[in-house]
């Protein structure tokens, strides 16, 4: 009886011990799973947050770009409208009418001063093309442009000084006419 009871107790004891270790292993597995799940959850949340932040950023930037594009287009339209307004205000017909309104009249008599050495504003000669129909549009190089501008500037400065001195002499000789007709 004792033996039977003892063996049964032993078995129970052994059995309990195995069960305990299984429970223990189950407990540690659950903890790992939970930690894993939490980590996955955190990772997914992080990724979700990252995605949402980026998406939100992209959306905001997209709207901003869209709005800026619209603004640019609007300003371009406004610019075109203002350019037309300027051109219309400068229209010769209107300028003439406005001048008349302000009391301006065409001059009855104009005095002209003939100025020696007036600088030419265009090249004096051009080279002929080889044959008719074969010539192409010759384009200025920037260097040629600069040289020509510098020469024209120097010539203009000399011419202007001559003009001023000539005008001064003229006003002394004919002060009345200068006053009456204005400067040419």
């Amino acid at each position: 009886m004792i033996t039977g009871h003892s063996s049964s107790l032993l078995h129970r004891l052994r059995g309990d011990s195995a069960e305990g270790s299984t429970e223990k292993s189950i407990g540690s597995l659950d903890a790992r799973t939970a930690i894993g799940s939490i980590l996955i959850f955190i990772l997914v949340s992080l990724l979700g947050w990252l995605y949402l932040t980026q998406a939100s950023q992209v959306t905001t930037t997209g709207y901003r770009i869209y709005e800026l594009e619209r603004e640019r287009a609007r300003l371009q339209r406004e610019n075109a409208k203002l350019r037309l307004e300027i051109a219309e205000l400068e229209r010769l017909e209107d300028v003439k009418a406005r001048a008349r309104q302000l009391g301006f009249v065409p001059p009855e008599q104009v005095e002209y001063l003939v100025v020696a050495d007036y600088p030419p504003d265009h090249p004096s000669s051009v080279q002929p093309a080889a044959t008719f129909g074969e010539e192409n549009l010759a384009l200025n190089s920037p260097q040629q442009e600069k040289t020509r501008d510098a020469a024209a500037g120097a010539a203009l400065a000399g011419w202007w000084e001559k003009l001023v001195s000539q005008f001064t002499i003229w006003t002394i000789v004919q002060p009345g006419s200068a006053m009456a007709e204005g400067t040419p």
Binding site: A55, L84, E93
Partner: protein, 563 residues
């Protein structure tokens, strides 16, 4: 049997329910098949029309300015208003708001909004202010799209030089036609998605290829000279009752055209209301008999070939026979022993025929061709014509043409050909290609068009001799063409108007070409009035009156300025 009844009822009910469910499922599957297979393309199109947007973005056409930077033509914006009726919740309210702005009856707009079509156009060419107002309302289902519109800021100023632009952004005639590809630019496109309310979805498919705007042009035209020329031309037309007229002002050294005006003209902003024939620029496309101004060319040929000098004399008996045809002077008189300068001053046809016959057909026509007659000048304007010139060897040429051509009859030239030829004399015998565009501007990159010499037509010595002969001729021919204090080299001309079977009994073409100052010509002017009835006693009186009008009284002022 009664015991089986309670078991049979649920079975029938289940069977019935199953049948109903089966039928329902069948209908669903059928509908899905219909929507997703049979009507797939149609429904996809509808969905795309609702969610996707695609827009071609029109480029801005290049601006055209005069040589001093004043804007002559530019693009502004108008708007096109369209609607997507399926997206509009309250069509009545939308129609009420739009009708007062769109210049269209409210019921008409409402009908379109209720049409059920995916897309309808409500208005085109809506002014910018109205378009932007409607845009600011942000109405769901209403699209407001800007469209460029060409505007000539000075209305009809230099209309023939500019040409016009139609609704498809294509230029015709003038520089708009000739430089269409330069001015036009390249269209861009925008593509994206929007929500059912019509709002832009920024994270959806989005693509924007901006348009490439056209390049700007800076013309050689001076709008002030152009304005004065047009004003004077109109006055002269009214005074003499002429049908048409042309004035060209050019720099002989560079070929730059400073002004080019013709009457009748038109407003390029209203090209749709203009008769087609008025679009043609008579300065480059219409040809006429040049008359006595062509004696300049004959004289140039004689001087350059060495067959005459300014002092050469010949006896003018009043007529000469060339190719079996008797040629007489305009006054049907003989003038005795005259110099070559007298031939120009008195505009003697017999003297001109004497020179051409002395030269002989080969040399005479070589010079005529060298001066550019019978072929285009290659000016940068659309629709240029070559004129009409019969040459020996052509079936139509006759021996008598050698005589009549020498004083500008039996041939046809364009005004631009004529002024370009005489400009060669003014430019020491060197012919320069005429042009109206000075610069092509592409953002910061500027391409300057340089003068291009075509060929030497006569020697500098011959050109100088002829210039001083023309100065003397103007002084002798009519003092009305002179400007006190300045010398002008020039020649008047009258020609009859050819009609089928001969010449018009009354109509005349009167013209003048002159350049100044003769030492270093800064400009050359051609004036031509056509198709007016003569009420003067002689052509010389008539020319004098014209010169009086164009040069002495009015143009004299700007001739002085230009000097």
């Amino acid at each position: 049997m009664s015991a089986e009844e309670p078991q049979g009822k649920p079975l029938r009910r289940i069977t019935f329910l199953s049948a109903v469910l089966f039928a329902f499922t069948l209908i669903n599957v059928g509908q899905l098949f219909r929507w997703q297979v049979l009507e797939y393309d149609h429904l996809l199109g509808l969905a795309k029309a609702e969610h996707d947007w695609y827009m071609e973005i029109a480029p801005l056409r290049g601006t055209i300015r005069d040589r001093n930077g004043h804007i002559l033509a530019l693009d502004i914006f108008e708007f096109e208003i369209t609607a997507a009726p399926p997206m509009i919740v309250n069509p009545e309210e939308v129609a009420d708001r739009l009708a007062p702005f769109l210049d269209r009856p409210r019921d008409e707009i409402l009908e379109l909004l209720k049409s059920g079509q995916p897309h309808v156009r409500l208005a085109r060419r809506v002014p910018q202010q109205i378009g932007e107002t409607i845009e600011s309302w942000a109405l769901t289902g209403i699209r407001v799209e800007p469209r460029p519109k060409r505007v000539c800021a000075e209305n009809n100023l230099a209309a023939h030089v500019l040409g016009f632009v139609n609704e498809t952004n294509n230029g015709y005639y003038g520089v708009e036609g000739y430089y269409n590809q330069v001015l036009k630019g390249q269209a861009g496109e925008g593509q994206g998605e929007r929500d059912p309310a019509g709002n832009y979805i920024p994270i959806g498919l989005h693509r924007l290829a901006p348009p490439q705007n056209g390049r700007d042009l800076v013309l050689t035209i001076d709008r002030t000279i152009q304005y004065m020329v047009e004003e004077e031309l109109e006055k002269a037309i009214a005074r003499y009752g002429a049908e048409t007229g042309t004035i060209i002002v050019m720099e002989p050294k560079t070929g730059s055209i400073l002004a080019m005006a013709s009457y009748p003209s038109y407003d390029p902003n209203r090209f749709a209301e203009t008769p087609v024939e008025v679009f043609v620029n008579p300065s480059v496309s219409a040809h006429h008999e040049p008359g006595s101004v062509f004696k300049i060319i004959t004289m140039a040929a004689g001087l350059d070939a060495g067959v005459i000098t300014p002092q050469s004399t010949f006896y003018d008996s009043g007529s000469i026979e060339v190719g079996g045809r008797t040629i007489m002077n305009w006054d049907r008189q003989g003038h005795g022993l005259v110099t070559m300068t007298d031939v120009l001053a008195q505009s003697l046809n017999v003297g001109a025929a004497y020179i051409s016959t002395t030269l002989g057909r080969e040399r005479f026509y070589t010079y005529v061709r060298r001066f550019g007659f019978g072929r285009i000048t290659e000016v940068d304007l659309a629709s240029e014509g070559p004129g009409r010139l019969r040459l020996p060897g052509d079936g139509e040429w006759h021996e008598s043409d050698l005589g009549t051509n020498s004083f500008g009859q039996g041939m046809a030239v364009t005004p631009l050909q004529m002024i370009t030829a005489v400009a060669a004399v003014a430019n020491d015998g060197l012919m320069v290609k005429p042009h109206v565009v000075e610069k092509i501007v592409d953002g910061q990159h500027v391409t300057t068009i340089q003068p291009v010499a075509v060929r030497r037509v006569i020697s500098p010595q011959a050109a100088e001799q002829l210039t001083w002969m023309l100065v003397e001729a103007v002084q002798k021919e009519t003092d009305l063409a002179t400007v006190p204090g300045y010398r002008i080299a020039g020649k008047t001309g009258t020609a009859q108007v050819p009609i089928p079977g001969g010449y018009h009994p009354n109509w005349t073409i009167a013209s003048f070409i002159g350049y100044a100052p003769p030492e270093a010509p800064a400009f050359i002017v051609l004036v031509k009035l056509s198709n007016f009835s003569s009420c003067w006693e002689s052509p010389r009186t008539r020319q004098g009156s014209l010169l009086d009008d164009f040069l002495h009284r009015k143009s004299g002022n700007w001739l002085r300025r230009a000097c």
